[in-house]
Amino acid sequence: MTDHYDPTDSTDTRNHIRTDGGRDVVELPDQVELPRLLDFYELQTEETTEIAEFYDNLREGQLTTTECQDCGELHFPPRIVCPECQSDDLAYVDLPHEGELFAFSTVRAGAPMGMEDDVPFVIGIVDLGEITLSAHLDDAEYDDLSIGDPVELKIVEIDGPVDHERVFYRFEPKET
């Protein structure tokens, strides 16, 4: 092959250039696959994150977070270094699976990429006592909710373009 693209040579497919007699055409794929790091869920294995234990615990059915063994601080999100005292002696402790709704709203338009098909969905802030966290609220209608409502954890599997099984937590109104 010569350095120059040769339009008369049908075996020359460098740079996805094709020619049909007129101008050379640069071919691009119709769709670029969503890179797996652009979906919202982090990779969850030991090879990719030092908080893999958080995800392992969740996969086993338990919501946990880190607690500093030196100063006692409870963190959320889980850490590998305590922001209060810089200790790296942290241990995973269980969080309650029931809490109260501190705030909530619903998304009826303007959803982020990957969530457009879920619209409308309900999200909120859940008070678990020592920590609060944001969460999807499943099986909930915005109009039926009030601040202070009891909610409980559910764990979902994430079916997406990675080669390991991912999980995440959500909350739902507690059956009374």
């Binding site: 652009l38 919202f40 869920y41 982090e42 959320f76 999100p77 922001p83 501190f102 705030a103 909530f104 709203s105 619903t106 998304v107 009826r108 338009a109 303007g110 959803a111 982020p112 990429m113 990957g114 969530m115 457009e116 879920d118 969905f121 999200i123 909120g124 802030i125 920590i131 609060t132 966290l133 944001s134 969460a135 999807h136 915005y142 601040i147 995440f168």
Partner: protein
């Protein structure tokens, strides 16, 4: 605390039309650069020593990085002192302005260009990508993942504020109606129609309690400013907006569990106190004439009345209801039209706010929204989950 060693003034600035623009990221930069130099006939690109560019997500919105050198090239600027892009989400423009001010005050340079730019409107089918980018301002792994972009998050702030302080749906709407009405006569604004309180409440209930008209927009736009040391400024211009104080605060928290409150922004109080202190402002309500505050959503402005120290906590709703933030009120708040009316091209907003204060001082804004003879002004931006607040004070008189 901070001893500002040299006076620094804004001596000129320019603006592009904001909205859904049929223009690229680079087009917007060139339009704003030209408008800025057109406004300062005695200052050209050859005079600029330092360049500070506020832009939040060009990597995602425009697929471009290293944008400050690109601005230098597009505007023909040879930088021989300092060049940087600042990223602080919605406060990136004010951050760029703050660094330019500090660099001049510290004697590193005499003349700087501050340019804020964002191209947020991707082709229609990619709008969710812009929303995903904005959902990344908290902890992406634990908050963004739950669909926490700005409208539902600020809806929850409104819900908590209404719950704790009896702020009303009408009061939220009064903020939006006021700012959108100002924007109606601002030639650069994205949304240029007057809107009534009822129209706000009747607009699409997007993320209750917030409706569509309680939200700022997804906006393309840019704005620029020329900053100069006092010595240089005297050579080129009789008029300037002098920077008298500037403060910022962030309390070791950006994700939901680590924010100090959902209904109060003590970081705004800390940032404002720094700025007031430097500017020698004892009673902001008495001493400030015009304020451009970050009304990304109607609720934000109400929380800001309180946490910038103008009224007691919980009295923000009453402040708008009593007309105290109108053009003829105690402080004219957002005569530009705010983010609600002008739109919010993230990195450009703080720059545009400072330009508005300068234009108010020199009396060059449209007459409907001109504040009578203002002498002192303030700009405020929050960023992300409102975890950071940035405040700057300006004065028409040289300090």
């Amino acid at each position: 605390m901070t001893d500002v060693t040299r006076n620094v003034g804004i001596v000129g600035g320019g603006h592009t039309k904001w909205g859904t623009r049929e223009a690229s990221y680079k087009d917007l930069i060139q339009e704003a650069g030209k408008a800025t130099f057109d406004d300062t006939p005695n200052v050209g690109p050859e005079d600029v020593e330092g360049l500070f560019v506020g832009s939040v997500q060009p990597e995602r919105f425009a697929f471009q990085t290293h944008v400050a050198p690109m601005v230098a090239e597009l505007l023909g600027i040879d930088v021989d002192s300092m060049i940087a892009r600042t990223e602080l989400a919605c406060a990136s423009g004010q951050a760029a302005l703050r660094y330019a001010w500090l660099a001049i005050a510290a004697g590193q340079l005499d003349t700087a260009l501050v340019l804020g730019v964002e191209k947020m409107n991707l082709p229609r089918e990619y709008a969710p990508e812009a929303q995903a980018s904005m959902a990344n301002v908290m902890d992406r792994e634990f908050d963004g993942v739950n669909g926490f972009n700005a409208p539902p998050y600020f809806a929850m702030i409104a819900q908590r504020h209404m719950h704790e302080y009896d702020t009303t749906r009408e009061q939220l709407a009064q903020v939006a109606a006021k700012n959108k009405t100002h924007a109606a006569s601002n030639a650069f604004a994205q949304f240029q129609s007057e809107v009534s309180v009822d129209e706000v409440i009747d607009s699409f209930e997007l993320s209750p309690p917030l409706c569509l008209y309680d939200c700022s927009g997804v906006t393309d736009g840019a704005a620029g400013l020329i900053l100069m040391s006092e010595e240089k400024a005297r050579e080129v211009s009789d008029e300037a907006a002098w920077i008298t104080g500037s403060g910022q605060a962030c309390f070791s928290g950006n994700s939901i569990n680590n924010l100090p409150s959902m209904s109060a922004w003590p970081q705004a109080t800390t940032a404002a106190e720094q700025a007031y202190d430097q500017a020698g402002i004892d009673d902001p309500l008495e001493e400030l004439d015009v304020a451009e505050v970050h009304d990304c959503f109607s609720i934000s402005e109400i929380v800001e009345y309180e946490d910038l120290g103008w009224v007691e906590k919980g009295e923000g709703g009453k402040f708008i209801e009593d007309g105290r933030s109108e053009l003829d009120g105690d402080i004219a708040v957002n005569p530009r039209g705010g983010l609600l009316g002008c739109g919010h091209p993230l990195g450009a907003t703080g720059v545009s706010q400072a330009l508005e204060v300068f234009n108010q001082f020199r009396g060059t804004v449209e007459s409907d929204r001109q504040v009578p003879a203002p002498e002192t002004g303030l700009i405020h931006n929050l960023s992300g989950s409102a975890s950071v607040h940035s405040v700057m004070t300006l004065s028409r008189e040289r300090p």
